[in-house]
């Protein structure tokens, strides 16, 4: 379990241990303390306001009125204040761009005047293994700036815990990154080589930083005024190590080519690659039998090519199908349904309250709140993207709660199950469910069929209005539905 922390760390790059840490102290001024007040939605009772809270993080100046920090520092932010090192003044700021999939955000202050003269950080490259870096930030334990040193101990492709669903290049250092360090610069030779962003709960003195290729990609993506998310190839591969498997595909034992096993419907490779294709090269880089390529001297997963590109970019694919080698270009695009598996921020939970029955669309926020045990719900969740369930059901609608009411008192035992049909019609999404529950001419009964339920849930139409009134009053539900995020 990785722990991410609303705090920040800054690392000074020192190539040699003996090198004097002669960072000019005025660069510290460009490392700002970020104070955030936020409001986190409550998916258990979606009509409620949610939880008010706040935290401290770090950010740093990278250009005219551009402060870089972590997305998780300013997620769900309602108020953002920025403070310069050594100054009591708090400058109101706002989030210009936020990228939850790579945990980066760009802020601006309302009045940049006092920041005009401050130095601006430049970016360096990925720090070498064993080289020293400095982490600068405002971690817990005091009000003032803190500087720690660490050594780069690992460069890896790993999970970004903020969204829970994304993996990118990551640099591990042996300096602790504590709450408050988040969003702070990691510095080497006077240049930023990363952004401190997460630690490890079960290990001391282990910190993770977002290296500059990820940061540069984020900054480039937002140049057009919009963050587009990472593009995905939408391909699952299986290693072609087994000699029998290679023989079946008439491949020589040269360690080249990887087997395509799944192509995500509507994804970038849909209609281009098919399960059973052998992928030989991506953008001219030979793919080995484990799905790895050599990029700038490093052996990395072939998806790294896609990592470095943007939505709309093309990627060329060379593959063997039915014994023939083909080459095609795929246009990269993000895969919105894959956000099913990511924690969502800045969203208002959607729901319908219908005569005491509460319906919500399944996503990771809801799953984290409700801990669904039903096998059908778990399967719909797991298969949502891989099996293309999202094409038929953009929302998996769950009957999450049944509020006690004279009408619902004997309906127990069906909470936490997924809705299949309402009055015989398959439910596509929450809006569709709302339409089915609010037809112009109501039927005598609303019959709601759930996957895995031992009976349908039946609501007599003529009792709904009274039940809604009671439920609204008794449970203090202001709005009976919210269909927009």
């Amino acid at each position: 379990m990785k722990l991410w922390l609303p705090l920040f760390a800054l690392i000074l790059p020192i190539a040699q241990a003996q090198e004097s840490p002669s960072a000019p102290s005025d660069i510290y001024k460009s490392v700002v303390r970020i104070e955030v007040a936020n409001q986190t939605s409550d998916y258990a009772t979606p009509w409620n306001s949610g939880r008010f809270g706040g935290g401290i993080g770090t950010g740093f100046l990278i250009g005219k009125n551009k402060f870089l920090t972590n997305a998780h520092v300013v997620s769900n932010a309602e108020r953002v204040l920025v403070t310069i090192h050594g100054s009591p003044e708090k400058y109101p700021a706002k989030v210009e761009f936020i990228a939850h999939d790579c945990d980066l955000a760009l802020l601006s202050v309302e009045d940049f005047h006092d920041f005009e003269k401050l130095p601006v950080f430049d970016f360096g490259n990925v720090p070498a293994l064993e080289s020293q870096v400095r982490v600068i930030g405002y971690p817990i334990g005091g009000e003032r700036l803190s500087v720690t040193r660490g050594v780069v101990s690992r460069i890896d492709f790993s999970t970004y815990s903020h969204s829970r669903a994304d993996s990118h290049l990551i640099v591990q250092i042996d300096a602790a990154i504590n709450p408050g360090n988040s969003g702070g610069p990691v510095v080497q030779d006077g240049k930023v080589v990363g952004v401190a962003f997460q630690g490890l709960r079960q290990a001391d003195n282990t910190g993770y930083i977002i290296p500059t290729p990820i940061v540069r990609r984020f900054l480039k993506d937002i140049e057009d005024g919009r963050y587009d998310n990472y593009a995905e190839l939408g391909v699952t591969e299986f290693p072609l190590h087994n000699p029998a498997m290679r023989k079946a595909f008439n491949l020589p034992n040269d360690g080249r080519g990887v087997l395509v096993t799944d192509v995500t419907p509507t994804g970038s490779a849909d209609g281009i690659l098919k399960p059973g294709d052998i992928l030989l090269a991506i953008d001219g880089n030979a793919v080995d039998s484990a799905g790895m390529i050599t990029l700038e001297g490093e052996n990395v997963n072939m998806q790294e090519i896609v990592e470095r590109k943007f939505a709309g970019d093309k990627v060329s694919l060379r593959f063997i199908r039915a014994g023939k080698t083909e080459e095609t270009e795929a246009v990269l695009k993000p895969l919105p349904p894959s956000r099913m598996y990511a924690i969502q921020y800045e969203k208002k939970p959607r729901y319908i309250v219908f005569a005491g029955l509460v319906f919500q669309p399944l996503d990771t926020n809801l799953f984290a709140t409700a801990k669904f045990e039903d096998i059908n719900v778990r399967r719909l969740y797991a298969d949502y993207v891989p099996k293309g369930i999202f094409q038929k059901r953009p929302d998996v609608v769950i009957l999450t709660r049944i509020e006690s009411d004279p009408l619902t008192t004997m309906m127990d035992g069906v909470q936490g199950l997924a809705v299949d049909k309402i009055n015989g019609v398959e439910v596509r999404d929450l809006k569709h469910a709302y339409e089915l529950l609010h037809p112009s001419t109501p039927p005598g009964f609303f019959v709601i069929e759930l996957f895995g339920a031992d009976r349908p849930v039946v609501v007599p139409a003529n009792q709904i209005e009274a039940a809604n009134k009671r439920v609204q009053l008794n449970y203090d539900i202001d709005q009976l539905s919210n269909l927009e995020e």
Binding site: N242, A248, T261, F445
Partner: protein
């Protein structure tokens, strides 16, 4: 028939298997010190009507199905119920590799065998393995007579025998009668709840329960906290023995229905049930079961079985025991081959169906819920391990198996209709032994097999047969829900198989 099991955290005897013979002698009845004066020393002659049963039991290794787990031992006290015949629980003899009778004074021993066993009703009838030796063993023994049917409130005596051979009678009272499961989940049978404060004596997986010196039931579990015992009811024991003594045990029939209550007024209104009607809603109909064969459908409401109306919670009025769960009308009172009449409501219209009762063997289910007496079916091919899915295999994922077992396997267990018709049993790749034939496959597991060498796989036997026809020296293995095709080199896997036998896997497959 989804019902809550009340109580019965069977403290009594089961579950804690002792690792060795010495340990097995320890009392498993961990009841707290009994209040004084409850147990009384019984007439010594009662020991002429009971025998100890020693059971050595070995389960199969879930991951390496070609071998057995280390053995453990259990003991039970069984009433003699006929010439050379002893009654005990099914649980005691499940997976038994050696059974033995022992007199309560420890002077005589003889090997025993199972004559009939019903794991669902948790009853087993044993006899001596060898007739001549058995006759000698049972010389002077006096079989119990069966009691009539005790009524609620009647006193019942639980018979124990201490290690030193002294019999103990604990007087209890028949506190209640219910249709519950005392061993396997979901198998509901008439059970007496007897309140009695027992003391630990010799360990025992079953104990005779007497009424005025006659056999009234068999104690299957004891909850020391509530001082409540589950006793398999007299009627059930009688019906079991009747059939078992014929030598061709027929078993108890089932309807093959899943039902739920109709207490919800909205549901009742929709189903057009009137206030004076009861009725239970049919949530599921098992394929090939009595009800399905007779035409019962999901969504029907069962109003009555024969002339017994069923209330909205699923109870009917039993003349002696009061309200009993309706399944007793079938399993507890009917035999295989009998016909009953179900009064149904379908789409608001009354309907009467005659149902001929059959019995479905659990082992024939797509995913059997128990497998006692059936060794796991498997195939090891080139290092790939294939098994047939069973509930015990799912349970091997630990206490939290319902959340920890692989989703696709759980799904096949919970929603068998997804696979029924395509296969008789779910054959899946359960693991991979690293061998020259399985390079690159090491991480594959828990994939349900669809085809091998182009042929549909319907059970383990068809899997083994399918592997006999490689194409160009290669076997192809396809899975459900996956587009991955795995290939095995026939020559390499044959060589691997020979080596695996040398390395101690005695048999590479078991299809029966």
């Amino acid at each position: 028939m989804k019902r809550l099991l009340l109580l019965l955290p069977l403290l009594a005897l089961p579950s804690c298997d002792s690792p060795g013979k010495a340990a097995a002698a320890e009392p498993a009845l961990q009841s707290p010190p009994a209040p004084p004066a409850v147990p009384v020393t019984a007439p010594l002659e009662l020991t002429r009507s009971v025998v100890r049963i020693n059971s050595t039991r070995q389960t199969w290794n879930d991951n390496q199905p070609w071998e057995k787990n280390p053995p453990n031992q259990r003991r039970a006290l069984g009433p003699v119920v006929g010439p050379n015949l002893v009654l005990t629980t099914g649980e005691l003899v499940g997976d038994a590799t050696y059974l033995e009778f022992e007199t309560t004074d420890g002077t005589r021993l003889t090997p025993a065998k199972v004559i009939a066993v019903d794991f669902e009703a948790n009853l087993a009838l044993l006899g001596p393995a060898d007739d001549a030796a058995g006759a000698k063993f049972f010389e002077g023994m006096k079989p119990f007579e069966m009691d009539g049917s005790p009524k609620i409130g009647d006193p019942l005596d639980i018979l124990q025998v201490e290690d030193n051979g002294v019999p103990l009678l604990t007087v209890g009272a028949l506190q209640g009668v219910d249709v519950v499961s005392n061993f396997l989940e979901g198998q509901y049978f008439l059970t007496f709840q007897v309140k009695a404060s027992m003391q630990s004596a010799a360990s025992s997986f079953s104990l005779p329960v007497l009424s005025k010196g006659k056999l009234a039931g068999l104690l299957a579990s004891y909850n020391s906290k509530d001082q409540l015992s589950d006793v398999i009811a007299t009627e059930l024991v009688k019906r079991f023995l009747e059939s078992a003594k014929t030598g061709h045990y027929a078993g108890f029939p089932g309807l093959g229905l899943e039902t739920t209550r109709t207490e919800d007024p909205s549901l009742r209104q929709w189903l057009k049930l009137t206030e004076d009607q009861g009725g239970i809603y049919v949530s599921g109909v098992r394929k090939g079961g009595s009800a399905q064969l007779a035409g019962v459908k999901k969504g029907d409401v069962v109003l009555a079985v024969d002339d017994h109306p069923i209330d909205r919670r699923g109870y009917y009025a039993h003349p002696v025991y009061g309200n009993l769960f309706w399944s007793h009308l079938i399993r507890g009172e009917k035999n295989v081959g009998d016909t009953i009449t179900l009064k149904l409501l379908r789409d608001g219209q009354p309907l009467s169906l005659d149902v001929k009762l059959v019995r479905q063997e659990e082992i024939d289910n797509l995913v059997p819920a128990y497998t006692f007496g059936n060794a796991p079916r498997y195939l090891v091919k080139g290092g790939l391990i294939f098994q047939e899915l069973t509930k015990p295999l799912l349970e091997s994922f630990g206490d939290e198996w319902q959340s920890r077992a692989p989703l696709n396997l759980l799904d096949a267990f919970e929603n068998p209709e997804k696979y029924e018709g395509k296969m008789e049993h779910v054959v899946f790749l359960s693991g991979v032994i690293p061998t020259p034939a399985t390079v690159g496959y090491e991480r594959l597991r828990n994939l349900i097999v669809r085809k091998v060498d182009g042929q549909d796989v319907r059970d383990m036997k068809s899997l083994v047969d399918a592997f006999k026809q490689p194409t160009n020296g290669l076997h192809s293995i396809e899975f459900h829900d996956e587009s991955l095709v795995v290939y095995l080199d026939d020559r390499v896997s044959e060589a691997v198989d020979r080596k695996l036998i040398q390395r101690g896997i005695g048999k590479l497959s078991r299809t029966e």
